[in-house]
């Protein structure tokens, strides 16, 4: 169909007198202007709210900046040298990677499982989809504050467990549980979005392909592995990337629930950055941490993107 239209357009264009060609150019120019108008809010937003501030962050990272006393001295790359020798930064990155890895595994597998379950034409299925998506529209702070009460050592969850005769752990004060607890709270908050993305992808898989495979004798597991998974691979790539980036930037639950503790068991890099800037007033060094975090996240995203050819065969 697309080819037919192009051929017709070519014939029309080729046989048209010069005045018509000029009109077509004007129309195309108008189209381009409209296109630019549509994308300009996003482009301006990215530049003004993303690239320009990031430029400032790089500039600040080359200074020793203590705003309370008005100190702003050029130190070149000293802050970046400090990063290499800072155990707290190294430890925070390890914690961040642990958090991100656990969150990605739990979030993506749960989202996929829910999407498969909810990809049915059953009565009332919309209610279940809404139920699982609803945490997405709850304010992040409100979500975390409510969970803070639920996971208190004398909170709702341990109260329920005690009814069952189970002595629940101190979810946020036990170093071996705190990070896992935060991951679970974040998974429940964000799984709805990934579930919806998977659901949309699953509904885009042509039924006739699955039907053909079924007629050929393929088992449901084989159909999923050989037909569904390859066809939704672009969505898996998208979900993996946005979940990873979100996990590397986690901040709200740490700030409200643990402040990086107990000890430094939940001290992720974004919270260390916040603490360095706004509590220790070391804005220059915090900016250097920010630059490093950006480079690491960009590197991970690029790594995922570069491997897509091996497992994404149906890019749109």
């Amino acid at each position: 169909m697309v080819a037919d239209v192009a051929q017709v357009a070519g014939r029309v264009s080729g046989g048209a007198p010069p005045r018509r060609a000029s009109g077509a150019r004007r129309a195309a120019r108008l189209d381009a202007l409209v296109g630019l108008a549509f994308v300009s809010p996003v482009v301006i937003g990215v530049i003004v709210l993303g690239l320009v501030p990031f430029g400032f962050v790089i500039w600040y990272a080359m200074h020793e900046w203590t705003p309370l006393i008005g100190q702003f001295d050029w130190v070149g790359l000293d802050n970046f040298s400090r990063l290499a020798a800072d155990d707290a930064v190294r430890s925070s990155f390890v914690t961040t990677f642990q958090f991100a890895a656990l969150l990605m595994v739990l979030n993506i597998s749960l989202a996929m499982a829910l999407a498969l379950l909810l990809n049915q034409r059953l009565r009332g299925i919309t209610t279940f989809r809404t139920f699982f998506f609803s945490p997405m529209v709850v304010s992040a702070v409100a979500w975390v504050v409510v969970w803070n009460y639920l996971v208190a050592s004398n909170g709702g969850i341990n109260g329920f467990l005690s009814v069952l005769g189970i002595d629940g752990p101190n979810w946020l004060r036990d170093p071996s549980w705190a990070l896992v607890t935060l991951v679970v709270i974040q998974v429940f908050k964000g799984v709805g979005m990934n579930m919806i993305l998977f659901l949309a992808a699953l509904q885009g898989v042509p039924a006739e392909l699955k039907e053909s495979a079924r007629i050929d004798g393929a088992s449901p597991r084989r159909i999923f592995r050989s037909i569904t998974l390859p066809l939704i691979a672009p969505t898996i790539l998208l979900v993996t990337m946005i979940t990873m980036i979100g996990a590397m930037d986690v901040f709200v639950p740490i700030q409200i629930m643990t402040q990086g503790g107990p000890g430094d068991s939940t001290m992720v890099i974004s919270y260390l950055l916040y603490r360095t800037a706004f509590e220790q007033q070391d804005f220059g060094y915090a900016s250097a941490i920010g630059v490093l975090l950006f480079v690491v996240v960009l590197g991970l995203a690029a790594l995922q993107w570069s491997t897509r050819n091996r497992w994404v065969h149906d890019e749109v």
Partner: protein
């Protein structure tokens, strides 16, 4: 089909975006030294404050309106901007970093040394000493010590509120415990006795026993800073440069507190949530402002701090206001602050905040601040304590110390935590911060 190219729209877009960037760069806050009063006309003053309480704002605005009426050539408006929550200092720092320094700022005693000694606040002495009828000598020396450097005043501690002990009399009676006021009268009001009562009430009533003024597991100085003084302990030396967390007195205090949590069950463990005003706590440490949240759902009393091994040490928590030296109008702001805190307006502020002026520490002046407190409670727990109270420890490097100490103390908040080991580690970790190296 090859798409047509359009240089003009693209170049226009680039030009617009470039201009936007330049504009942003021009408008962004740097470290610009803007100290000094701007212009000759009346200025708009802005004060950031920790409280969003409507009553506080009403009284502040009443004083500000009266000042504007008297000095229309100096000030056209005063805005009181509330920033609440634990991120107050961070938010204030962000404003200063962004080139939007307020003219005046309210900070708590824990950060007083940081704001005073690092030069964030301007010297108020010249303005205050010239202000008619100000009566600087009326200020309690102990109350202003933290806000002074070499005899010069850099902040005014408008709130000078002693810590005391709230008790839920109904819970104690139900647990068969003695009446605390009788223990005070009999000279038996000690920390050990308080914890015995708390533990017994917790066990028999299924509530929390003793709750410090803040969460001890995350806000160690706010929670425990007024308690360890009764053990003769201090976190660092007088000049703030040497760690004394590992002193025998401090180790003894933390050892005792650890026992109250993990052995006696007098203090709720880490991660527990309880609310005194809801009747879930037997004994709570607090300041008189907490009495406004207590209704008549249960009988309660407000008593002085108990005695520790070093006797009774009255302690106050303070809120102070200073003029931000890097603000746009430091001279006008200092003049306004002199008016804001003169004897007449201090009497108005006493409706909410116990003042640092000896002449205003009377039952009559404080009754409005805490109508729920009896004259005996005001005299015994607030006025008598405020006159001889010490202030909780602060440090010029408080921002850096808060988390460093908290992270080490987490090692103590387990059943087998050892105070001596943990506090030794605290000193090892904060020594470089204290020495400024």
């Amino acid at each position: 089909m090859k798409q047509p190219t359009f240089r003009r729209p693209v170049s226009t877009t680039i030009a617009v975006l470039g201009s936007t960037c330049l504009l942003l760069a021009a408008c962004s806050g740097g470290d610009g030294d803007t100290a000094g009063d701007a212009g000759d006309g009346p200025v708009d003053l802005r004060m950031v404050m920790w409280s969003a309480n409507e009553g506080h704002h009403e009284i502040f605005e009443q004083i500000a309106d009266a000042y504007i009426d008297q000095h229309p050539d100096l000030v056209s408006s005063v805005t009181f901007e509330p920033i609440t929550g634990s991120s107050y200092v961070s938010a204030l720092t962000t404003q200063i970093a962004g080139g939007q320094a307020p003219d005046l700022a309210w900070v708590s005693e824990g950060y007083a040394a940081q704001f005073v000694q690092s030069g964030v606040f301007a010297d108020l002495t010249p303005t205050f000493s010239e202000a008619e009828g100000y009566d600087l000598d009326d200020l309690l020396p102990d109350a202003v010590e933290l806000w002074s450097v070499d005899g010069d005043l850099y902040g005014y501690p408008f709130s000078n509120s002693p810590f005391g002990i709230f008790v839920n009399l109904d819970l104690l009676a139900a647990a068969g415990q003695p009446v605390p006021r009788d223990l005070v009268a009999g000279g038996e009001w000690t920390w050990d006795r308080v914890m015995e009562i708390a533990a017994a009430t917790a066990q028999s009533q299924g509530v929390a026993g003793f709750q410090p003024a803040a969460d001890p597991y995350t806000m160690w100085n706010d929670a425990l800073g007024a308690m360890w003084m009764s053990w003769g302990a201090q976190p660092w030396s007088e000049d703030g440069a040497e760690c004394t967390f590992d002193s025998p007195e401090m180790v003894e205090f933390f050892d005792w507190f650890h026992t109250q949590i993990f052995t006696n069950g007098a203090v709720p463990g880490p991660g527990e949530e309880h609310d005194f005003a809801s009747g879930q706590v037997a004994v709570r440490m607090g300041q008189l402002s907490a009495s406004t949240g207590l209704g008549d759902a249960f009988q309660w009393d407000f008593l002085p701090l108990p005695a520790g091994p070093e006797g009774t040490v009255p302690v106050v928590g303070q809120g102070g206001v200073g003029v931000v030296a890097r603000g746009d109008n430091p001279d006008v702001a200092a003049d306004f602050l002199a008016y804001f805190t003169n004897p007449e307006n201090s009497a108005l502020l006493a409706q909410f905040f116990p003042p640092p002026r000896e002449s205003l520490l009377t039952v009559e002046a404080l009754t409005a601040a805490a109508p729920a407190l009896s004259p005996e409670q005001l005299q015994g727990t607030v006025i008598d304590q405020a006159l001889e109270a010490r202030t909780k420890a602060g440090n010029p490097a408080m921002s850096e110390l808060t988390d460093a100490v908290r992270m080490d103390l987490d090692g103590l908040w387990v059943a087998d935590g050892d105070a001596e080991t943990v506090l030794g580690q605290v000193c090892e970790d904060i020594a470089p911060i204290l020495s400024g190296s």
